[in-house]
Subunit: 388 residues, 2 copies
């Protein structure tokens, strides 16, 4: 069975693009990925595409064929939606298609346009990732939901808002050299602690911004990469997905994310690695507390220890286990349907040495990407490895 | 490689269910499928779920985990969206997952709630399957788009509205004994011709209704079915998907559906059959002209011959090639995200002899299901075979 190779990847500038459609954004990322890969667009046999709120933000469903046409690809195209893990879900199906022998070359990507509808409407659109009947109508928003998870975590394991502030400070610092990042601004722990409260205990700097953007990657079988002499040293060697009840009220525990535990377990088993083998991770830090939960689910830290990781410097670019070298969703931005593939691109670039923060793990050969939907009711984890 | 078995299927009453949520509808279909299959819900390892307009009709995205919980399944769940072919796309990923050896049991299904938002809003929501920028904003609706395709067909191949009326009469007659059908009403050719015009040449009886409903099926590997003594004689032996430009303006030809040609070609090759082997078909007759285009793309009729099939009786339940024994989308109804799986259920029930119209093909062993999205910009085709 093939280990799918990442032959090329493209990411747009993340940020506010009120004048550009989702199609326009995806075309840029997709064409960049194709160009970087050296693959002939005629060889692409399928497109798997992540998008979350196109129906609400652009009055546009059925975006699969639209995006295939936008990048000049004549192949069946399917949209995956798993809220903020939509692109991660798309990667899974792309990997499956290559492993099945159904295709030698696929494009995977995603896009989201959000700033055009304004923050209030976008916040409401994001809320459809929660249970409308039992959460949204009761007034739940995502900042509120993650605030509950942060409170539950503090109560069970300890830790403080100051520890979360260190996560934000770290990710802002990481993003300073990421040209695609929405926010390139150094902040201090004091800045984060003094910022307006969004949903206590979370403040402005505990939350990712509203972002427009797109990401794409060209994946091939290892046989195709070899035959065509592609420069594609990084393989996706493991994939996993976990699910959980959508509504927080239906869960036994708010300070853990079992869907991510399952996804990590499956992906590691699939790749034949263990958590100790991981050199670098991109995780879904839509809120600072989410990064803490993610690194625990990935097995990089024990339960209750993740809260200290940024404070102690372990997850900074100078630490033993660098997390979110891209700046994470926090500073890089979070164009929902694109995020899972943007994470993949970051890990690939870190492992092949081309990322501006690659010096954090000069000998790194194993990376993981953790993409979560809703309050981690859907999670995908992918293991990437350098395979010469 | 396994030939995935259909171990059980469930379909709700199609029609108007303004008082029921999509979750409630899917729970009914999913639990019925599980019950019929005899599979332990704890054995289900994944849910693939089709839905098209939940964001607009129910303010609910991220429906995968919601629906898994609704049927008591603790497994990762992913939503697929390819407009009206969403459920067909879900079936493809389910089949791939079983063939890959990643799971032994999966549930595939879909649901749509549409009547709660009213016909005008539902028509606008359906329009997001077309290109918003280049079609919808120019005033395009789906009845209008299919009317253009009918006109192009008549101009190229001949045929008339009366031929299309025979498609409607046939499908209404087929639905008379389908207890799940939204419309159980016999009509005459005159009724169809005298009905109000929707978009010339198409009239009221050329169009499927707006429908609420859900469908689900339990799929297993053949090894699992054998080990557990399941009564699952029907296998999914072939799957195919084709894509086309979303906007009609970007296509060279309006009287053909090349995405369906490709999907059929791929599915037949995958199953190792030819069009001549097909005994029965369920096709995507959102409009009567769509059935004509579908049976030509499936290779059951030559280009230009499909228009005469219903008129001559070939596709009736007494004919050589019965099409849409369920009543089709036309009379059974079209809860968008459920349709592809409802087609699968019909074919399985016809082939195992339990469908009330199964006597149309008493010796039938091969059936196909054709599910199309938009103006056939996405198409999936599945081949079902009796395998003892």
């Amino acid at each position: 069975m093939t280990d799918p190779r990442i032959a090329g990847a493209g990411v747009t500038q993340f940020g506010k693009h009120p004048e550009r459609t989702g199609r326009d954004l995806f075309a840029e990322a997709g064409l960049e990925a194709l160009d970087q890969s050296g693959v002939d667009p005629d060889d692409v046999e399928a497109l798997y595409y992540g998008n979350f709120m196109g129906e609400l933000a652009e009055h546009q469903g059925h975006q699969g064929p639209l995006m295939a046409e936008a990048i000049g690809v004549d192949a069946p195209a399917t949209r995956l939606e798993a809220a903020c893990a939509s692109a991660g879900a798309a990667v899974r199906e792309a990997v499956k298609t290559l492993r099945n022998g159904e295709a030698d070359v696929v494009v995977v990507g995603g896009a989201e346009r959000m700033t055009n509808i304004g923050t209030a409407v976008a916040t409401d659109a994001l809320a459809i990732a929660a249970d409308d009947l039992f959460e949204v109508r009761a007034g739940m928003t995502f900042p509120g939901a993650y605030a509950l998870m942060a409170r539950a975590y503090f109560e069970e394991y300890g830790g403080s808002h100051e520890d979360l502030a260190h996560v934000a400070v770290k990710n802002h610092e990481h993003a300073l050299v990421n040209e695609h990042a929405q926010i390139q601004k150094e902040i201090s722990v004091e800045d984060a602690l003094e910022a307006p409260t969004i949903a206590a205990p979370l403040g402005l700097y505990d939350s990712c911004p509203i972002t427009d953007g797109a990401a794409a990657a060209v994946l091939t079988t290892d046989e195709y990469a070899e035959e065509h002499g592609l420069d594609a040293p990084v393989a996706i060697s493991g994939t996993g997905q976990g699910g959980d009840n959508l509504a927080l009220q239906d869960r036994p525990h708010l300070a853990r994310t079992p869907a991510a535990d399952k996804a990590a377990h499956e992906a590691y088993a699939d790749a034949g690695i263990e958590a100790d083998d991981v050199d670098v991770a991109e995780v879904h830090d839509c809120f600072t507390i989410a990064e803490v939960l993610a690194i625990e689910s990935l097995g990089l830290f024990e339960s209750g220890e993740g809260i200290h990781a940024a404070t102690e410097g372990t997850t900074t670019r100078h630490g033993e286990m660098p997390v979110n070298l891209s700046g994470g969703l926090k500073a890089k931005g979070h164009p929902v349907g694109a995020t899972g593939v943007a994470q993949l691109a970051t890990i690939a670039w870190v492992l092949d040495g081309s990322h501006p923060r690659a010096d954090a793990v000069p000998d790194g050969t194993v990376g993981v990407a953790h993409n979560a939907g809703g309050t981690v009711a859907s999670t995908t984890v992918h293991v990437l490895e350098v395979k010469e």
